[in-house]
Amino acid sequence: MNQKITMAQALNQALRDALHADPTVLVFGEDVGPLGGVFRITDGLTAEFGEDRCFDTPLAESGIVGMAVGLAMNGFRPVVEMQFDAFAYPAFEQVVSHVAKLRNRTRGAVSLPLVIRVPYAGGIGGVEHHCDSSEAYYAHTPGLHVLAPSNAEDAYGLLRAAIASDDPVVLLEPKKLYWSKEEVDLTAAVPGIGRAVVRRPGTDATLVAYGPSVPTALEAAEVAAQEGRSLQVVDVRSIVPFDDETVCAAVRSTGRAVVVAEAAGFASVAAEIAARVSERCFHHLHAPVRRVTGFDIPYPPPKLEHLHLPSVDRILDAVDDLQWEDA
């Protein structure tokens, strides 16, 4: 059943399959109808399922998310698209004060099975507002599940899992991976929400990454291997809930860790991972947990973004720093 498709196609297929499987699934947002979305993730859905199931809305993100809340309250499973990461901010109040809290507010009487898809992060030469790594805002907000696939197969599986979930999910889709083609088994067991995975075994140190940083981490591990250092790579995949078991077991097995993420480092998901790993693996650590993240700056213009984003070299430098002399 394996096929070579892009992450964009995998996501499109996931929506298609979900719309087929469940008549309560709805897809809407800006330009997701006839155009098929600016990234073509919803390509062909209006044609196939009709205007009622996949439709354009007026241009207003708070409106989109707020209406999704109402639809979810009343029997539907909305999947909404925020056109780009930074254009989800107008919906922030709806996300934080309602999407994340309505179940809790009603002691479980109202569940909100809705998915907010966010094409996110950088590395595409995009202009300002089109490259934000906004995961920390969502991950810090209790009540949301926050997922970030790093490949087409997970993208398919996580989107299906997100739509099936009775809780709201923010699905962060790494834009720069949309067009990378991979072998994908769409019949593979859907990875459960909350499960990290070891992408590459290794014994000397552990790279912990998610979303767009996973391929970079894997590349770094490849280079390191050529230099005789064995780096393990863990793909977090599910930021919330977090898979402490897998991540901590991995770090304990090597005793050294570097967390890699594109977002500004301060008060970030990378900070969380570094803090938990430092606390939970304290006696196994031979060196402090290092972070390789974006700088604490607004997303830079395209010509400078390569200096900002975690690179193979910067990751390897951080690994070099892990006090090998003490080992």
Partner: protein
């Protein structure tokens, strides 16, 4: 697709029974049927009693705070009365009474203000959404609920409430526009009580009226005397019927007044004059319809006394319900964040359980 301007323009506020309880010469609108008016009066008596009771409970320290709808009860009553069982009500923090009149247990509505839990009732039981605190946000949920009904071909209508202040929020704009574009069966009902806490209407808007805001969305606007329950039943009832008939949303602005402070924590003397309050006192919505009904021979002392007794019973129910102290379960902290607890919440719940066990052991 776009509406002609004439159909959108709000006329002058509809008044069917004036402040002295007399039928006005308005003959564009029929007076609601007598039994409907009597029913409204009956609800008004209960509404007023609930407001007074809750207010008293605050003074006694049984409730932390109460945003009273004293003075706005005609709006509360009409909003509930024009809805059918399958319709939805979206209330704000000030709309306790409307929720109760729709059938929600008053104690359930008030636990929020007692500190027990955020929302004390099941929104599906009487199709009453949780009372909204972040202003205007609920209007979008209302559109979604209405659109869901529409997609399923159900005839349900959604009554979405907000205040004059809330009309300034971006979500108000987005909600009206979404409703208009999708033709969603929503009645947006603005209780213009002249103030947003201390901020007077003039600082909120310089439009001819708040109902004029509908025009920019292609939504007809209507204005109505918010202390005249007959006019409210007529205008809101027509708006609900229109939405049910598939003709889309409507915006209704009621002119009314918040007789008490914003909540008991507020000091209204800082921003409004006594004579302004006194002028509105003379337009009291309960007295007005009572005068009319008695004059029309539709209400006698015995019935009035029966209604008062009924209201007294509800008040007693409120008192009793709020006098029993409920201690919320600590596990409630963790059990409803998600459908299932995350491993992290399991850990945190265990930590708290350990602490509580140690505390008990220590005592």
């Amino acid at each position: 697709m776009t509406a002609a301007i004439d159909a959108l323009l709000p006329g002058e506020p509809v008044v069917l029974i004036d402040a002295d309880g007399a039928r006005t010469p308005d003959d564009a609108h029929e007076l609601p049927a007598a039994d409907s008016l009597v029913q409204a009066y009956r609800s008004l008596v209960t509404a007023r009693r609930i407001n007074d009771q809750a207010y008293a409970l605050v003074r006694q320290g049984r409730l932390a705070v109460y945003p009273s709808s004293h003075g706005q009860e005609a709006c509360q009553v009409a909003a509930a009365q024009v809805l059918g069982e399958d319709d939805w009500l979206f209330p704000t923090y000030r709309d306790t009474v409307a929720a109760v009149l729709r059938g929600v247990d008053p104690v359930g509505v008030l636990v929020l203000l007692k500190g027990d839990w955020h929302s004390g009732y099941d929104p599906y039981e009487h199709k009453v959404a949780p009372q909204a605190t972040p202003l205007a946000t609920q209007l979008l949920h209302a559109v979604g609920v209405a659109h869901a009904a529409q997609l399923r071909g159900e005839p349900a209508v959604v009554m979405a409430l907000c205040g004059d202040g809330a009309t300034s929020e971006g979500d108000f704009h987005e909600a009206l526009n979404f409703a208009a574009v999708f033709g969603a069966p929503v009645v947006f009902f603005v209780q213009n009580n002249q103030y947003a806490i201390s901020v007077p209407l003039a600082r909120q808007s310089v439009a001819p009226s708040l109902a004029h805001k509908g025009i920019g969305y292609g939504i007809p606007g209507r204005r109505v005397d918010g202390n005249d329950v007959a006019a409210l039943l007529s205008v809101l009832g027509a708006a609900v019927q229109r939405a049910r008939d598939g003709e889309g949303p409507q915006l209704v602005e009621a002119h009314t007044y918040r007789m008490q402070a914003h909540t008991n924590a507020d000091d209204a003397t800082r921003y409004r004059a006594d004579d302004e309050v006194a002028a509105w006192e003379r337009r009291d919505p309960v007295r007005r319809i009572e005068t009319y009904l008695r004059g029309a021979g539709l209400l006698d002392d015995a019935t009035a006394a029966a209604f008062a007794a009924e209201a007294e019973q509800v008040a007693a129910q409120v008192r009793d319900g709020l006098n029993t102290d409920v201690t919320p379960r600590p596990d409630d902290l963790f059990d409803h964040v998600y459908a299932r607890r995350t491993p992290q919440l399991d850990e945190q719940a265990a930590l708290l359980a350990d602490e509580l066990a140690a505390e008990q052991a220590g005592e």
